[in-house]
Subunit: 314 residues, 4 copies
């Protein structure tokens, strides 16, 4: 039974696990991400890996990180939440742990985990959409993880959906993640609550009466209890999600979409409407099979499991 | 020297050619597309193929057709300009000509032709954009023609770029091809000429003074002579083209775009500005290599050559 | 019985009439507008007036002209369809005919005619919307014709309703008249017919099969016969008209709207829906009386009758 | 010297003053607005009036209140911030104080105050725009305060400027006050700070590092110190203000705009750009005089002074 280690490097914590070739996590470990100094991060990763590897035969290590990873899966060109710029992460960690290492974009690793062991098992063409603060994307095409010419593919959240729309951290305007993400949900909920406090009574109560204290949790809880404003905010999220999937289907014609990320825990509040919008806005609808829309199954460990599997298949 | 036959089936004519493994057209033939009865079309195709094959050893036949072709490359599910609905084109033609046949979407065949023998030689990740009345798309990823789960991929012209925008023949609104195509160019030019005849003096003169007689040719000629309205129309085309390529780059991260189709003959009037808009609106710009933008090289025979090559590689 | 003469000066013809103080036209006359030389136009007007005045006691003359008329009702600052720039029309005509003259914007004159003798009788606050190629506007407030500080008020068609919208002859973009006018109707009908010829079968048949030959007449006739595309185009017109009236109501709170102009002859095809959209989009709806929406009653002679009456009340 | 009393009834406080016929405030008084029970509010108003009137000869009383006031200036049909629904405010207060009373919308009263004694002295056609949380409007035409057919005119903030735009408390979407008001400024500033914290460093510092704690004060202070995000937010405000004034000019052709309200205290940060946008987007620009844009001069007492003067002129 071949073992590999997967590591998911976030802005605040490093999650790592030993994974077998059934995608099962044999052992799991969590550490805080150290200060943003690149060498310290590499050392922390190496420390976790060595600890997990102790007394086991490990084939390889897969690292998932938020950022642009180059096409050789060695270099992190740019990571918004860590201090990495052209960081040779693969070499650094490999030399510290004495094992083969691959680096992967974290949303790619999650997508791969879901396709191998989760909601996408058996599917050849999958678009994975991670709804968090923004939108993360991962694409599997013809059974392989798709990276693009330079490793920068699948930045789905940065397709423009509204010309001259809301400003985005990527320096453009109108990006999809400004309309169909956790942050967008909160923004829409607050806008509606500001304009129509009477419709948002429940949501405002949950937020202590202050619009600016409405967060995702309040929107979700209020929506579950029938608050009209919260439901309207989820309706907007659903419509933008459905329309964006239709755009993706025009380009990629996937067999299946997988919706993950923190916002997907409230999927009962938007997934049906997202599906309806998707079907209604799909180009060529009626003349083509309609892709499945599924919820992610592996939760927070998808990235770790995916990274470990990518290391095995390196 | 292995020979195959490529056939490009258009709404008004069938173009066919014998192609060698250098992508050279050995012999070429044009026939009018018969009335829309499917069996007649198949018979016409078969007739042309037999005539071209006469006295030669032909390996296989590749057919390119505007429409949704299924993932087995046998069936045309739907063709807007021909009477095909779930048409088993591959079987029909194969049984008539006694040779292996593959069917491919015409824009896909063009893309493949350009990547194998034209502007995309040596590139592994290419997005091919055919600017005609609408937009046709073809995608090559990791060196292979990309078809999608059910053969419906690369319908690039039907990404939505403007919410609730211009109506599209695909039954949706705001599709990219309503903003960056030959038809869009003419529409914009007419709108500007209607609003500001004084800026469109040259273009109107070329159209005999009638806004409704402005066609692509008049816009192009007037723009070349400096007509402000015509130049403004090309500017809009350029901006929408650049923005759409940026969206595609967010998803696919190609190494190269190829711009073909009838409108590309006027590329001198828009390609530089399209490139500038692409660079300016590219997400993550500054942290990534920038894809090349090239003009197609094979002209009208790209589809035929591509189809022939796909038959060889079947 | 006091008589005045009203003259409606159009781009192609001059219509004039002797009007009594019941608003009845006692005698009527039509002349072609001469070449665009200002003095010739003045001479033509004077000729018509003298002919009509012959053998009658005429109090004064009112001239209605498309263009910006200054607040003293003497000067035409700018007329898009005639060669007038800072034209002292009042003096010129007065000295030629030896009668008091007032000059008024033509849409203002029409509005006044309708309020005095047509659909707006008895109303104190009226917004008059003339739907022709563009939109003409006239406003009556507190029983008086409203002109603005410099005579340029009531250019209703040039409120912006779509940011960065369709180009307008006034050099701005997104003006109301680009969405709710005869020209807009035709443009929308053509767009829909281009995208969905199957829905526009009737309309296309009426236009001889050519999208570019669809004009207002074809849209109207096809809509009356149930053509879906033509009905959709009228639906768009209705919605933009209703929304624009709601905007006007927010600013002016009129008691009544009067819809005139050539397009209003097809009012059965859009007026109900326009009213519904107006009511739905009216700010503060439910807490305020809702303005009446009426069709103009005087037809093409409204401008002439209004100008004559304004001369009487000078 | 004739004295009248003006009362400005806000959601939290009642401001009242004795005003002479030069518009000077002879005596001034502030009281908290009592709980929302209508009779209590009337009693509070009456109490203040009696106290001020004590020992003086008072001609009449003018009340300014946020809400829809009917055309007879007697009834408050609807007040969003108080519990008034079809409230006969004029009768109630008149019977309590034994003096003639008129009721006026508060933004109308402010506009009148400014035109009589402030920035609009000598002007006949004025549009007054009060930039607070939302937008309040008052219009003076031909030297008279304009009320509309039913007293609901000049709700300028509720013209739609963006189709399907931001939700508004009036139950519509895309209203002007959602783009050009204090609330809009804060919303835009927060959006930009969320997308680009690095550009909003100063503004975030002033807000203790929390985007949701950015309020108008922080935006203003940061903009004064050159914070790029804060300046961008003011730029958006300026452009929407300028465009809206251009729309108003198309309809009303005023000689002068007066900008007041709390946001106007930061006018140095936006008024020049608003003027430029106004001039650039004005229909018929170049063929017409351009309205003046001035800042309000009377500050918070404009409403009180205007109400008092309207009582005098009743």
């Amino acid at each position: 039974m071949a073992l590999t280690i997967g590591v998911d490097i976030g802005g605040t914590k490093v999650a790592a696990g030993v994974v077998d070739d059934d995608g099962e996590i044999v052992e799991h470990m969590l550490r805080p991400t150290p200060a943003r100094e690149p060498d310290q991060v590499a050392a922390t990763i190496a420390g976790v890996v060595k600890e997990l590897a102790h007394g086991r035969e490990i084939e390889a290590v897969g690292l998932g990180a938020a950022g642009f990873v180059d096409e050789t899966r060695s270099l992190v060109r740019f990571a918004p939440n860590l201090a990495w710029r052209e960081e040779p992460l693969r070499e650094k960690v490999a030399s510290l742990v004495g094992l083969p290492v691959v680096v992967e974009n974290d949303a790619n690793a999650m997508a791969w985990g879901e396709v191998r062991y989760g909601a996408g098992r058996g599917e050849s063409h999958v678009v994975c959409i991670t709804l968090g603060t923004g939108i993360g994307g991962g694409i599997v095409l013809d059974g392989n993880l798709y990276r693009g010419r330079w490793g920068m593919g699948a930045e789905l959240g940065h397709m423009q959906v509204v010309p001259e729309g809301r400003p985005c951290g990527c320096d453009q305007r109108g990006c999809w993640e400004q309309y169909a993400s956790g942050r967008a949900l909160v923004r829409d909920a607050r806008e509606i609550a500001t304009a129509h406090p009477e419709r948002a009574a429940l949501m405002l109560e949950l937020a202590g009466g202050t619009v600016d204290d409405i967060e995702g949790e309040e929107v979700t809880e209020a929506a579950r209890k029938g608050d009209p404003a919260a439901l309207e905010a989820f309706g907007l999220l659903a419509d933008w999600l459905g329309q964006g999937m239709a755009d993706m289907a025009a380009v990629l014609d996937p067999g299946c979409f997988i919706i993950g990320g923190g916002v997907s825990r409230a999927a009962d509040l938007f997934i049906e409407r997202a599906r309806e919008t998707f079907v209604r806005t799909l180009t060529g609808g009626g003349h083509r099979p309609v892709a499945d829309i599924r919820l992610a199954e592996l939760g927070a460990s998808a990235g770790l499991v995916g990274a470990a599997d990518l290391a095995r298949l390196r």
